[in-house]
Symmetry: C2
Subunit: 204 residues, 2 copies
């Protein structure tokens, strides 16, 4: 199988970190996003939604969507577990992964796409008011994460999971996205950022 990748963009980073946590190495082809290579006829024939990364299986079947790719790789390589084992743990990790995706990761991404001049090539029409609204909401969401991390070592519970990967990638994208993490407070969140950032899988 082969990954069509997108460098340091957030969703490509999620799968890159997931692979390192799993100890997997896959054949990889980098696509030039700013050159719209993911929208070339050849790539659209593989992945009509033009997202990156996507995984091509040996029979030509394509899987796109970061979490679908990760879940497939987990099914083939169960350890270390990243999606939970019991029904409740699986649901809690899924819940937190989705809370972060919709409440934080997407807010950071929308801030980037509508406020950073370099994102115009991907977004087309940029809407500043929407970018600013997301910039504010992303920062507000950190309180929810800080509260969760007061009671829990990791985002989805007492062990590292795919929800931590989603969250740390969004945190690392705050700077280009113009989302400023407050210097004061959020001590549980910052404890978690330090711990997770030190994992070997985070190295570029």
């Amino acid at each position: 199988m082969k990954i069509y990748d997108g460098g340091r963009a957030p969703n490509p980073r999620r799968v890159q970190i997931f692979l390192k946590e799993k100890g997997l190495e896959l054949e990889t082809q980098q696509l030039d996003l700013n050159g719209h290579e993911h929208r070339s006829p050849e790539m659209l024939a593989k992945n009509p939604t033009a997202t990156v990364p996507f995984l091509e299986l040996d029979d030509g079947t394509v899987l796109s969507e970061t979490i679908a790719i990760c879940r497939y790789l987990e099914a083939l390589n169960p350890e270390p577990n990243m999606f939970g084992t019991s029904p409740l743990e699986c649901a809690q990790i899924e819940m937190w992964n989705r809370r972060v995706e919709f409440g934080f990761f997407m807010r950071v991404a929308q801030s980037f796409r509508h406020l950073h001049p370099g994102a115009a090539v991907l977004e087309g029409e940029q809407i500043e008011a929407w970018g600013l609204k997301n910039q504010t909401l992303a920062v507000e969401y950190l309180k929810i994460l800080d509260n969760q991390l007061a009671d829990s070592q990791f985002i989805g519970g007492e062990r590292f999971s795919v929800a931590d990967i989603t969250t740390i990638v969004a945190v690392q994208f705050c700077k280009p996205a113009r989302v400023r993490i407050p210097e004061e407070g959020l001590n549980n969140f910052k404890r978690w950022v330090d711990e997770v950032s030190a994992r070997p899988s985070m190295a570029l």
Copy 2:
């Protein structure tokens, strides 16, 4: 266990249909969203992200996020299967569910929240340009669904799955969201809408 529900809003509808497909009936409490009951101190103590629906287990544990709730219920009640069985089928259903969530469902929801005057009570500041952009992108996405449904009986493959529930709920929300489905073309998509709309689980 008990569902805290939100009437005919799209995410509540997804879980309501899922329960009917599974043949499950749960104790239910309706929350008045326009009255901000989901943001009351009592409800925020249960579900700090203030989303609906959410599921409260008998020990007080809360699961929010539509797909996390559905996945938990599927683990406890495996038949009829809604998330796939083999690693590849699970990944393909997850992929299509997510493609539809990000490419269509969210576009329809954003169009509603930024163009419908009645959504101001939920959204706060409405940004018309963002609503209009999503209105256009939602309609464009129907071509991707139509192409998928040329080759496939259902959204996620050859049988009904959670990806069909996500999609049909978004289709049913197009009218209040001011997303107009073109009268011409999209014949595969329209064949699927007719088939899925006729399922007993869709009855209000």
